[in-house]
Structures are given as structure tokens and as C-alpha cells.
């Protein structure tokens, strides 16, 4: 399945920079002059080496930190603070340990003033969709790492955010659990029709993960956007999909951007060969 996004910009970044002051007083530019548009409904992966500014960029779009320069607009509104319209799945476990699983999933709805009966129905639907109906009354400490991520994903989807920001959410999980969660995420994302589909920005340093999930891959290096790749291979993408010529080429380009020697030359050869 390949989804054609509706061409309406959901996320617009205009000359966004972010400068931090380190403990030793030195100024560090984490994100440098990024201008970018992401259409509504697109699944975008943001890749780059460690410390290149991926998480900073995502946190700025979430409204958790503000840019030093430039502006960020989401759904035509200027981002100045966090909003339930921009759901975030964090790298660390963010499921509230003092709430039962179902209370976690419906917490955002509770904050938005949805009646108890209605929010419980919505939460149960999403728990069923992520395969966790049987643990709705469990405490988070009783769940595995993969299940906690399912709860986090169900929580942001249940809250009805139009933009989902995921910051290396599956980085600490084993290969099988990660693949299961990719399926969960893509099924939840694809359940809406194209006009209502959520826009996803997924930060990862795992090239295969980006190739498996994305419509488009943005490459960040030293705080700057250095490449913007479209992925046209239809979904569902299996391990075999990653062996297709287009995917192999993209993979080598990405690996070259990540600083792996020789990958650039190989990518160029494959470009000629294809």
C-alpha cells in the first residue's frame, strides 16, 4: 500500500535555528537555519548521526523548546508551546507509572474535558488496536518495554493529535519487537482516510527503520538539512523490500551521510547501474 499524501503543508519551518549555551559558557548551534515543509499525511523520517540536532528539531516542533531564530508553524498556527495537536512519543519511557494502562491512554482526553464514558470507549478501542486489551488494568511496571511503547503510541493516537512526533521511540527494543511496533504504528497511521491521515515525523538513527517506515527521509548533519529523499517503494515493506535496488541505493546514500567510508561511491555505482 502506498499512500498519496494530500498536498497541504502541515508543518512549515522557516529559517529555524537553535543555539545552546554549554556549561563551559561556549555557544553551540544545535540546529542551523532549517527551512522545510511537510505535507499533511506524510510519514517523514529524520535521520542523522548522534548529536546532529534531530531531537532538538523535534522538540522545537513539539513546542517543548523554542527556536533561537526563525519560525515553526503547524496547521497554520505558530508554535509557541506544547499542544495536544502535536503528540509526542519520547525515547524514554513516558508512560505514567502511577496510572493504570487504561488511565494512561485516556489521560490526554481527560485533559481535554472528554466525558469519562466516551474517553474510556476511545481508550479501549486504541488498546485493542495495539493488542493490549488484556492489560488495561495493569500497572505499567508489570509491562515489558515493547508493551510500554504500545501504550505510549496508543495514548498519542487516542488523543487525536494531527501531528505525531516520535523521538527514536523504538531504539532500545529488540529486532522482533521493533518490527511488531512498526506494524502497529503503520496500521494506526493508515486507518484514517488520506484527508484525515496524521502527519508523522519519526526521528531515528536506524537507516533500515527509516527505509521501512518513511514516505520521505530527511537527513540532518551538524544541525543542517543535507538531503531530502523520497521513498516510493509500496507498503507493506518486508525485509526483502530493503533489498530492492532503490532501497539499496537509498541505504548507501544514507550510510554515506552517516559518515561510513565508501558508501558514497557504492551509491554512485548503483545509481549508474540502475
Amino acid at each position: 500500500m502506498l499512500f498519496e499524501p494530500v498536498e497541504k503543508s502541515m508543518i512549515v519551518l522557516n529559517g529555524v535555528s537553535r543555539i545552546f549555551r554549554r556549561a563551559d559558557g561556549q555557544l553551540v548551534r544545535a540546529v542551523a537555519d532549517i527551512t522545510l515543509e511537510i505535507p499533511q499525511g506524510q510519514f517523514v523520517c529524520l535521520v542523522g548521526p548522534s548529536g546532529c540536532g534531530k531531537s532538538t528539531l523535534l522538540q522545537m516542533i513539539a513546542g517543548l523548546i523554542l527556536p533561537s531564530n526563525g519560525s515553526i508553524r503547524v496547521a497554520d498556527s505558530l508554535v509557541t508551546e506544547p499542544s495536544p495537536e502535536r503528540g509526542v512519543v519520547f525515547q524514554k519511557d513516558s508512560v505514567f507509572p502511577w496510572m493504570r494502562v487504561i488511565d494512561n491512554v485516556e489521560y490526554g482526553l481527560k485533559c481535554r474535558g472528554i466525558a469519562k464514558g466516551e474517553r474510556r470507549t476511545i481508550a479501549r478501542d486504541y488498546l485493542r488496536l495495539v493488542g493490549l486489551s488484556h492489560v488495561e488494568h495493569a500497572w505499567p511496571r508489570e509491562l515489558s518495554g515493547g508493551m510500554l511503547k504500545r501504550v505510549a503510541v496508543a495514548t498519542v493516537f487516542a488523543n487525536g493529535a494531527s501531528v505525531l512526533l516520535l523521538d527514536e521511540p523504538f531504539g532500545a527494543l529488540d529486532y522482533v519487537t521493533k518490527r511488531q511496533l512498526h506494524d502497529v504504528l503503520l496500521k494506526l497511521w493508515a486507518q484514517s482516510d488520506s484527508e484525515n491521515r496524521r502527519t508523522v515525523l519519526f526521528v531515528t538513527h536506524d537507516v533500515d527503520e527509516a527505509l521501512t517506515l518513511a514516505d520521505r527521509i530527511l537527513v540532518l548533519h551538524s544541525g543542517q538539512l543535507v538531503d531530502d529523499l523520497d521513498i516510493s517503494v509500496p507498503r507493506p515493506r518486508t525485509a526483502d523490500s530493503l533489498l530492492l535496488a532503490e532501497m539499496m541505493n537509498r541505504k548507501h546514500v544514507l550510510l554515506a551521510h552517516l559518515g561510513l567510508e565508501g558508501a558514497t561511491a557504492l551509491a554512485a555505482q548503483m545509481e549508474v547501474g540502475s
Partner: protein
């Protein structure tokens, strides 16, 4: 909303403790090794009484006999003019003071600790004052409290209250500092207001450490209350100890201290049980972890 559910591997589902089975894990249980420890203590005590004269170290059975005799009416205490001359009456007075001081002190200390953890200015103002107050030794502070609040309940309660409040201030502040900011960030992205963040994140997230602090403060409060009563009070188990000491009634002192110790242990067990129920979600609050 219609959708297809995603199958969970059977192995994952089978290992999750949920529902009624989980409720069997109570936060309080009788530890057989604890009983063994008490048995060893009594045995050593009994052994020592063979070598030490009873005027210095009374035998365990003599002390328990004295407790039974003095529990409802103690003639020795009546002689000194105590209005409720019994171990029970003295202990109830002490219990009342400790409970009042711990509840009020814990609330004041915990609220102040959480507020100062959230507001840098409040922290700058209060930290030095509270920490200075916390370093004053009890024997130095007690005379001032007796002068300020008189010989009676108020001075003893205030002394214990100060100790509990300082302890809880530090526990609550540390608990708030240690709360992972990811929870607040997550709540904000889900639409939580500042008020909701305090009620839904800060308070429940710090409760296990605060309740742990209450238990520690409670354990210390019994001794402090007894000292406060011993130094200047007309009632209480500490006063009874002072009177027994005045006539070198070692058996009476042992009886009063044993009653105090047993009550402290019972209160600790009750609070541990209640706190375990309140923080059932927490791994650290449960004896022996998960």
C-alpha cells in the same frame, strides 16, 4: 472507531501478572526471620541476667510481668502525682503527641519541599533557613521550646513537629528533583495545564519517596517525643521513664521502654501496610521489589 486488532505473541501475554492474581501480593507480611531476631534478642537478654544483678538488668519475664501489672494502674506513678498513672495512659498521651506532630509536620514539610523544588526563589529563601534549623541538636532546642511553649503538650509536639517537617522538606524536595522531566513534558504535550501537572504528575510521582520519609520521621519521632517529655512534661511515657529513673526502678524503666518500642513497631507496620496500598504502582515502595 473500527479497526483491526494486532495479535500479541502468546509468550508476551503469558508472562504478565494482571487482575486478581496480582492482588495477592500484599505489601506487608510476617517475616519468619524477624521472629527469629526477636527470639535471639530475648535469649541473649535472658542469658545476661544470669551474670548481671536484677537491680541493673531485670529478666524478660519480670519486665513483661511489670507491664501487665502497671498497664492499667501503676501505683509507683500515682505516688508521684501523675493524673493518669498507668503505662496505657502515659503511652496514649505520647501517641497523641506523636500522631499530631507527624501529621502536621509531614504536611508542612512536604508542601514546603515541593514548592521550593518548583520555584527557584522560594528555594533560595527557605533552603538555608530549614537546613540551619535541622542542624540544631534536640537537647539544645528543647529548653527554648519549653520557654516559648511552656511545660506541656505544646512544647513536646512542636519539638517533634520541627524534626518531622525538616525531614519531610528534604525528602519532598529531593523527590521532586528526581522526578523524571519526561513525565511533565509528556503531560504538557497531551494538553495538561500547570494545575493538572501538579496534581497528576508532581504529587503522585513524589508520593513513594515522601511516604518513605514519613516512615523514617515517624521512627525518630518516638524517641524525640520521649526525650521532650523527659525534659519537661507532666505526662507521657517519657515522664514515666523519668520518674522510674528518679527512684532507680530499672524494671519500671524497661517496662516503659518496651511498651514504647512495641507501639513504635506496631505503628510502623500499620503505616508500611497503608503506604504500600497507596503506592501499589511503585516498585520501590514494595518490600522486596516487584
Amino acid at each position: 472507531m473500527k479497526g483491526e486488532s494486532i495479535e500479541l505473541p502468546a509468550s508476551a501475554a503469558a508472562t504478565i501478572p494482571i487482575g486478581r492474581a496480582n492482588r495477592r501480593t500484599t505489601p506487608w507480611r510476617i517475616d519468619p526471620f524477624g521472629i527469629l531476631g526477636i527470639f535471639l534478642l530475648v535469649s541473649v537478654w535472658q542469658l545476661l541476667t544470669i551474670f548481671v544483678p536484677s537491680s541493673l538488668l531485670p529478666a524478660p519475664h519480670a519486665v513483661t510481668g511489670r507491664i501487665a501489672k502497671d498497664f492499667f494502674s501503676a501505683q509507683e506513678l500515682t505516688y508521684f502525682g501523675l493524673p493518669d498513672a498507668s503505662l496505657l495512659g502515659s503511652m496514649l498521651y505520647t501517641v497523641e503527641n506523636v500522631v499530631i506532630a507527624v501529621i502536621v509536620g509531614a504536611m508542612l514539610g512536604a508542601v514546603a519541599g515541593l514548592v521550593t523544588a518548583r520555584f527557584r526563589l522560594a528555594r533560595s529563601i527557605f533552603d538555608l533557613v530549614v537546613l540551619t534549623a535541622g542542624t540544631v541538636p534536640i537537647l539544645v532546642a528543647a529548653p527554648f521550646f519549653l520557654i516559648w511553649f511552656g511545660v506541656g503538650r505544646a512544647s513536646a509536639v512542636m519539638l517533634v513537629l520541627l524534626y518531622v517537617a525538616v525531614t519531610l522538606y528534604l525528602f519532598a524536595q529531593k523527590a521532586a528533583d528526581n522526578l523524571d522531566p519526561v513525565f511533565e513534558e509528556s503531560a504538557r504535550t497531551l494538553g495538561a495545564t500547570s494545575r493538572r501537572i501538579v496534581w497528576d504528575m508532581l504529587i503522585p510521582g513524589t508520593v513513594p519517596q515522601i511516604l518513605g520519609g514519613v516512615r523514617i520521621a515517624l521512627a525518630g519521632a518516638w524517641g524525640l517525643e520521649a526525650i521532650a517529655e523527659l525534659l519537661g512534661s507532666q505526662y507521657g511515657i517519657g515522664k514515666a521513664v523519668e520518674l522510674f529513673a528518679g527512684v532507680t526502678d530499672v524494671e519500671g524503666i524497661f517496662a516503659a521502654l518496651l511498651v514504647l518500642g512495641v507501639v513504635a513497631v506496631v505503628f510502623d507496620a500499620i503505616t508500611a501496610f497503608c503506604f504500600g496500598k497507596i503506592t501499589a504502582w511503585s516498585v520501590v515502595a514494595r518490600p522486596g521489589g516487584r
